[in-house]
């Protein structure tokens, strides 16, 4: 804003500026209203409708509460979060610390560990599915060579969720590594020098200096990781779905909330029930986001 002030000109200028701003914003604003806000409201209203759209109802939610398959999908989704998020972060941190310690081949390590993150989830899910295959897969072949009985992996309800999680961790850990590397770079070197003069051990330096300073990075990765695994879909659909098998199987052991939503909406075409499922998912994600804001505000006060 220029402050050259004659009496009328600034006023006029301000109006013109406002007009310019809204000229630039009109298309994006219409977009957000019609492609984001309106559909959100529509999803809510759909979830309160009967399937023939003749009247409002809360039956979808009532049915949801009594639907054991839905609860199974909620439980599984929780398990995905608990299994994948801590492991992908821990592995990412260990690799980042390792790479930080070495002088040679850094770019090579970083490149390889990061590769899974940028490759197509669908393509690599099928590769893993081949490797997991009970009869022809390479994992069982290796187990046989080691004289360990072959495992069911994706075919065994007790192992399937962990098998899917392994693929998710394999893909996400490179991202954690990358963000941790950026976080580690940001730790001031003189902190370590001071600690070294005081005779602190490496172990102690890690827990007293590195770890607390990585706090914002950890919170960021935890939150994005949790939200992402709450939305797990593509891996499950491709690792377990198919003509002979239902996605989310065997026996719904890998079924996530989103896979169940997809099934209801686009296989059974019960859009109203599926909308109710997405509303629940929305509320869960909203809660996670609110908790995040709480923790974030706290953790920056070191």
């Amino acid at each position: 804003m220029t402050n050259v002030s004659s009496n009328r000109q600034p006023m006029k200028l301000q109006t013109r500026r406002t007009l310019t701003a809204y000229t630039f914003l009109i298309v994006p604003l219409l977009f957000f209203i019609s492609i984001r806000i309106f559909p959100t409201l529509y999803a809510f209203s759909l979830s309160f409708m009967t399937q023939d759209h003749t009247s409002g109802t809360i039956d979808n939610y009532k049915q949801l509460l009594q639907d054991p398959v839905f609860w199974k999908s909620v439980l599984n989704t929780g398990l995905y979060v608990i299994v994948t998020v801590p492991l992908q972060m821990a592995l990412g941190l260990i690799i980042a610390l390792g790479i930080q310690r070495v002088r040679h081949f850094r770019w090579f390590y970083r490149m390889i560990y990061f590769l899974p993150y940028i490759t197509s989830i669908v393509a690599v899910s099928w590769v893993w599915r081949l490797m997991y295959d009970q009869n022809t897969g390479v994992f069982n072949q290796i187990l046989t060579w080691l004289h360990i009985p072959p495992q069911g992996f994706l075919g065994d309800p007790n192992e399937s969720l962990l098998s899917v999680s392994a693929v998710m961790i394999w893909q996400a850990m490179g991202f954690s590594m990358l963000i941790f590397m950026a976080g580690l770079e940001a730790v001031p070197k003189h902190f370590y020098e001071a600690a070294q003069i005081d005779g602190a051990s490496k172990w102690k330096m890690f827990w007293k200096i590195t770890f607390p300073l990585l706090n914002p990075t950890i919170v960021f990765l935890a939150v994005t990781g949790v939200i992402q695994s709450l939305q797990s879909f593509t891996q499950i659909q491709n690792l377990t779905g198919g003509s002979a098998a239902n996605a989310g199987g065997p026996l719904n052991s890998t079924l996530s909330i989103v896979v169940y939503m997809y099934k209801n909406a686009f296989t059974d075409f019960n859009m109203e029930y599926a909308s109710a499922i997405t509303v629940v998912l929305f509320i869960i994600i909203l809660l996670v986001t609110l908790i995040q804001l709480r923790i974030l505000n706290k953790s920056y006060e070191y």
Partner: protein
């Protein structure tokens, strides 16, 4: 003495990192090996192809819509990326550098849409797409992603760092507002633009949930959707060699692009992660 100890430590770390590299890279190696096997190698397990068999590649190029899926993915990802770069940076610029009544409301309105999960929107989008006849069209695949709240937020953060002086100087020179954005502001945030371009392209290139919903015929599928449906559709047993050929052709070009632009891609993703 101390130096020697550190060198030994470094060797151990290298061994540990190399072991990890082998585990992480193994699926890619296995994918390429498998794509060169003939189907019998899958049922009588063999580690390496007994005889290198290129016929799978020939088959996917000649007998399936694979190249068409490739083309579709390129069209969709490139168009959406260009649209996002233009609109996100424009809105980010206006929100960062213009003061006008309602600016805060607009910002909050846009930012609040970040909390809405895509999963909640796909059903309304699908209903909308069916009503307007957008099912099975490029427009149908692309429209939800053309402008994006996270990108706007990111661009705003970077635009805040553009000094007001140079913008005002341009105004005094009589440059129009549109031109100021294009000629003065945008060149100042080039690193952020390239980061945004990379994550937008990657996200759309790999997108699965929405394209699988909105496409209906084989020749409108994007690459991930095409591979997924080709792989699950066949009732007569999974054609592993063909699927591995498709996966290889989908993954290897991406890896090559990544190798060329490694520094930029990695920094871009780290930048958006840290700033966001």
């Amino acid at each position: 003495m101390k130096k020697k100890k550190r060198e030994i430590g470094a060797v151990f770390i290298h061994i540990f990192l190399l072991a990890g590299v082998m585990i992480v890279a193994f699926p890619f190696i296995w994918m390429i090996l498998s794509s060169l096997k003939s189907i019998s190698d899958f049922y009588n397990f063999s580690f390496l192809p007994k005889k290198i068999d290129w016929s799978g590649y020939q088959y996917i190029f000649q007998e399936t819509e694979f190249l068409r899926w490739y083309w579709n993915s390129i069209v969709v990802a490139v168009t959406v990326t260009i649209s996002c770069l233009i609109f996100n940076s424009l809105v980010g610029y206006v929100l960062a550098k213009h003061r006008f009544p309602g600016a805060k409301i607009v910002f909050i309105l846009i930012l609040s849409t970040l909390m809405i999960p895509t999963e909640m929107l796909v059903i309304p989008w699908y209903v909308m797409g069916s009503d307007f006849g957008w099912v099975d069209t490029y427009w149908g695949i692309m429209f939800p992603g053309l402008i994006e709240a996270f990108g706007i937020f990111l661009m705003r953060q970077f635009m805040l760092g553009v000094p007001d002086d140079i913008l005002d100087a341009a105004r005094i020179d009589g440059m129009g507002e549109f031109k100021i954005w294009w000629r003065i502001a945008l060149p100042q945030v080039k690193p952020a633009l390239s980061a945004l371009g990379i994550i937008t392209f990657l996200g759309n290139w790999n997108a699965y949930l929405w394209p699988v919903i909105i496409t209906a015929t084989d020749n409108m599928r994007t690459l991930p959707v095409g591979i997924s449906l080709f792989s699950t559709a066949d009732a007569g047993g999974i054609k592993w060699n063909l699927i591995m050929c498709m996966s290889t052709m989908a993954v290897i070009p991406m890896i090559i692009v990544f190798l060329f632009f490694q520094k930029r891609i990695v920094e871009g993703i780290a930048m958006t992660g840290v700033k966001g």
